[in-house]
């Protein structure tokens, strides 16, 4: 408990300092003395803190939900200001330490701080996302790999694939046009009496824990209506998230349908009830692993670790879990172009405007 007191005492002192610091952040006049000692993360957090002014009000409102007492409410606002200031000081690692200390604090305050932590974490994710958007990526156009290309190349490639269906001969028949797609879905069996409401519930439970910053609910709901047999399966939201990272919602949805389409890469076979498609792929993996990595396979088997345990998520999330996003996206590059393998790269490069 002594620990906790020390912590709260420290917080209060720090809070006063940082309330001051925050004002300065907004005017940007006084450089925060502690800001530079924590490296890149610290700087990033400082940037976040500048933006936090706006979101502070919203956060406080959210926290207000858990606090009825108005005294506590004002106290919580103060606490928010303090801790945000603390974040500005670059307590990336502090998040973790903080969690330990917080556990010792009073329960209500603990709730507030946990909400705050999520808020900070969200902000951090947001800035990471921003940064990622500026990082060069490897984009694959047919058999050509463009290393360290600007991300825009990928956006343009994906849009080109969508806007020029004539580039994909085989695909022309039914892709791109939603009427053709819905005719296909009309022929599919409805998924064993599971109502749309149930599906909606499953989706809403999932999406906030996939890529919370994207409008995935409507996206997945739309797909469930479009393809009532596959409907929604965990993992789909990851694929959707990857697409939304590069293109707007509507084209992303079309690309998603295309990736899942039986006449395209046919990812939907992996998601169908019963997961037979997934199991088939896992058997292939098992076979290949035995053949090419016998040592590893023997080791894993001895420990009872079979492919279904670790590779299900690879296949169901288009390798975005747990592999880097860049890897997964390159795979999508390839899959989107797969149905036009005979076309060569020239058409795509032209279409993408990089010839």
């Amino acid at each position: 408990m002594a620990d906790a007191e020390e912590f709260w005492g420290e917080e209060e002192v720090a809070g006063r300092e940082q309330a001051q610091g925050e004002e300065d952040d907004e005017t940007g006049e006084r450089p925060h003395p502690r800001r530079f000692s924590f490296g890149i993360l610290g700087k990033r957090m400082a940037l976040v803190a500048q933006g936090v002014g706006d979101s502070l009000a919203r956060t406080a409102a959210a926290v207000g939900e858990v606090i009825v007492d108005s005294d506590l409410r004002s106290k919580s606002a103060a606490l928010l200001a303090e801790s945000v200031g603390k974040a500005a000081a670059g307590v990336g690692k502090g998040l973790q330490q903080g969690a330990g200390r917080i556990a010792a604090g009073p329960r209500t305050v603990q709730g507030i701080l946990q909400k705050l932590q999520h808020r900070i974490e969200e902000q951090r994710m947001h800035s990471l996302l921003q940064e990622q958007q500026d990082t060069p990526v490897d984009v694959q156009v047919a058999f050509q790999l463009y290393e360290d290309a600007p991300q825009e190349l990928r956006s343009r490639l994906w849009m080109a694939v969508l806007e020029h269906p004539e580039l994909c001969k085989e695909y022309q028949a039914d892709a791109g046009s939603s009427t053709a797609a819905s005719e296909v879905s009309g022929g599919w069996q409805h998924n064993g009496g599971v109502g749309q409401e149930d599906i909606d519930e499953v989706i809403s439970r999932d999406i906030h824990r996939t890529f919370p910053e994207y409008p995935l609910f409507a996206f997945e709901q739309a797909y469930a209506l479009h393809d009532m047999e596959a409907a929604y399966c965990q993992g789909m939201a990851f694929v959707a998230g990857l697409l939304l990272f590069y293109v707007p919602e509507e084209p992303a949805f079309q690309l998603f349908c295309r990736l899942l389409s039986t006449s395209g890469p046919n990812l939907r076979r992996l998601y169908l009830p019963g997961l037979e498609g997934l199991k088939a792929e896992l058997r292939k993996l098992e076979f290949l692993a035995e053949r090419f990595l016998p040592n590893l396979t023997a080791h894993l088997n001895a420990a009872g670790v079979v492919p279904v345990l670790f590779a299900s998520q690879w296949l169901l999330t288009c390798y975005s879990c747990p592999f880097p996003v860049g890897f997964a996206c390159r795979l999508i590059d390839v899959m989107l172009q797969a149905s036009s393998a005979g076309f060569g790269c020239a058409g795509y490069v032209q279409a993408a405007g990089v010839s």
Partner: protein, 207 residues
């Protein structure tokens, strides 16, 4: 090259999507809670050393995907389990009603040697939500169900506030240990996947 022998308990966590299986596991093993866990795709597991009376055992906790269609992958997960933890959300009676299915499915797929006495533990999670005002499943109702299933231990838990999590897992470890047969578990040595050497002679004593 000698293989280490130790007691390894395999625990499976089952329950509907979003009831908090991953959160419970993480709270217990890592003492951390986040409302931002990603949905579990397929399965995941964590291990923890636990002291049960005077024995030190390794608990291997398998966290599974809650969506119904993932049940068909169950066989691989369930085999060799020493205890099964059924989790529901006290604020959703549907997740409680489904416990019956999860239990049945587990018994069918894991086919333990003595299904009537296989240890289950039931956890009613998220009791913290709205200070308990959102609760749809009373503890009494849950305990009744547990009683009817042969006296399954029941705990009200909150992974978020670390309420009863340790107690629950202590019971889980204890019951799993009771069920554990005297077989010796083989923990393989680390293997270098890049080594070109011929595969080591398999320890034929086991498997």
């Amino acid at each position: 090259m000698a293989s280490r022998k130790r007691t390894l308990l395999k625990v499976i966590i089952l329950g509907d999507s979003g009831v908090g299986k991953t959160s419970l596991m993480n709270q217990y093993v890592n003492k951390k809670f986040s409302s931002q866990y990603k949905a579990t795709i397929g399965a995941d597991f964590l291990t923890k050393e636990v002291q049960v009376d005077d024995r030190l055992v390794t608990m291997q906790i398998w966290d599974t995907a809650g969506q119904e269609r993932f049940q068909s992958l169950g066989v691989a997960f369930y085999r060799g389990a020493d205890c099964c933890v059924l989790v529901y959300d006290v604020n959703s009676s549907k997740t409680f009603d489904n416990l019956e299915n999860w239990r049945d499915e587990f018994l069918i797929q894991a086919s333990p040697s003595d299904p009537d006495n296989f240890p289950f533990v039931v956890l009613g999670n998220k009791v913290d939500v709205e200070g308990g005002k959102a609760r749809q499943v009373s503890e009494k109702k849950a305990k009744q169900w547990c009683g009817a299933k042969g006296g399954i231990p029941h705990f009200d838990t909150s992974a978020k506030e670390d309420l009863n999590v340790d107690d629950a897992f202590q019971t889980i470890a204890r019951n799993a240990l009771k069920n554990e047969s005297e077989e010796e578990l083989y923990i393989p040595e680390t293997v270098d996947v890049n080594a070109q050497a011929a595969p080591r002679r398999a320890q034929s004593s086991c498997c």
